[in-house]
Amino acid sequence: MKSLNMQSMAKSVTARVVRLWVLGLAVASALTALPVMPAAAHGERSQQAFLRMRTLNWYDVNWSKTELNVNDEMELTGKVHVFSGWPQAVARPGESFLNVGEPGPVLIRKSAFVGEVPVVPSRRWLEIGWRSLRVPQPE
């Protein structure tokens, strides 16, 4: 009688262990379906700025005028180098938009071009590791 009890207990414990294993495997396999993201907040900021923000480098930037009267026009030109090594902490460029910084809309933007192509709306014009401008032509 006693051994029977022991046997049934052992059976139920085994069944429970098997169930736990099956459940564990199911959870583990379900977890594999989750998207893998780079871990954030683990010291990225401890890297130097040029490592974590090395994306674009603007050079030969020129303001056609630095003093303006009301209704005057001004042209801002420059070149951009896109680094081939893209920081992991920065999202890779998909659609890109050429913007400019100013303290409120004190200047009205009339046109924006990359190469000869107008970049009024967002479009895919930025490629990592650009050596020369290969701007897609407007459809």
């Binding site: 659609e95 890109s96 938009f97 913007n99 400019v100 910084g101 100013e102 303290p103 409120g104 809309p105 004190v106 200047l107 009205i108 933007r109 009339k110 046109s111 924006a112 071009f113 107008p118 009024v120 709306p121 967002s122 407007p138």
Partner: protein, 256 residues
């Protein structure tokens, strides 16, 4: 001797007459109503700006998919909570209209003084979305049905469906075609391009990518129905939120 008796009240009385007493009560009511309006305005404004912010700020964010989805859903929260307060406490079917009116008063102060007055963005670019007819609709459904369940189902769906049509009379003119440097875009997009927003980058905006086309070209009705369905759910949740916030608690007589 109290200060009030020095001005002529009978000894032991605070007020000179019943009329003076009633006048004080009415004045207090008005002060409380103004405070209530300001509290509704401030809290709803913060909520709406945090959740629908850019879609409500800019004319070129007022697209036909994200804007009619996001704006009514997040606006429903305070409309439902306010209805819960006004209806269960006072049987007044004015909750939704009052709270959206408060929001719009706050928004217009903000858009006119800050966006235009301080920063020079034209009002054409930054006027807020219309919501008041939706408030009327929700209050009328509650008034006629007397039921929060019916208001959630019928009112909530109508809330989502009404949003685009009531904004269309103002919005339509900005959807006319414009051209700049050979690129075709809407007048709204052109205004958004002209007036540079340094702190609001273009890439935040969800550009329509041609999905959601099960029903052919009609994107707005699909977005509006979806918005209506979620508004129903939000209504249930926030009606109870409003109920919880407007609980009246009484002190036990032993505690006084």
């Amino acid at each position: 001797m109290s200060a009030s008796t020095q001005t002529g009240s009978p000894v032991g009385k605070t007020w000179k007459s019943k009329e003076e007493f009633l006048g004080c009560v009415i004045l207090t009511d008005w002060i409380l109503l103004v405070i209530l309006f300001a509290v509704l305005l401030g809290s709803f404004h913060i909520h709406y700006m945090l959740l629908a912010g850019d879609w409500d700020f800019w004319i070129d964010f007022k697209d036909r998919r994200m804007w009619p989805t996001v704006a009514p859903i997040v606006a429903m929260c305070f409309a439902a909570a306010s209805q819960s307060f006004f209806w269960t406490r006072f049987r007044l079917p004015i909750g939704a209209t009052t709270v959206v009116l408060a929001l719009l008063v706050g928004e217009w102060i903000n858009r006119y003084d800050n966006f235009w007055g301080w920063t020079f963005f034209p009002i054409n670019l930054v006027f807020p979305s219309a919501l008041i007819p939706m408030g009327f609709w929700l209050d009328i459904v509650l008034m006629i049905s007397g039921s929060w369940l019916v208001t959630a189902l019928v009112g909530g769906l109508g809330w989502g469906l009404l949003f685009y049509p009531i904004n269309w009379p103002v919005l339509a003119q900005y959807h006319q075609a414009a051209e700049i440097d050979g690129v075709l875009l809407t007048l709204a997009d052109l205004i958004g391009f002209n007036y540079v927003r340094t702190g609001t980058p273009e890439y935040i905006r969800m550009v329509e990518r041609g999905t959601l086309r099960t029903f052919g070209k009609d994107v707005v009705p699909v977005a509006a129905f979806f918005s209506g369905f979620i508004s129903m759910l939000v209504y249930f949740l926030w009606w109870n939120m409003g109920k919880w916030f407007s609980t009246t608690k009484y002190l036990e007589i032993e505690e006084v």
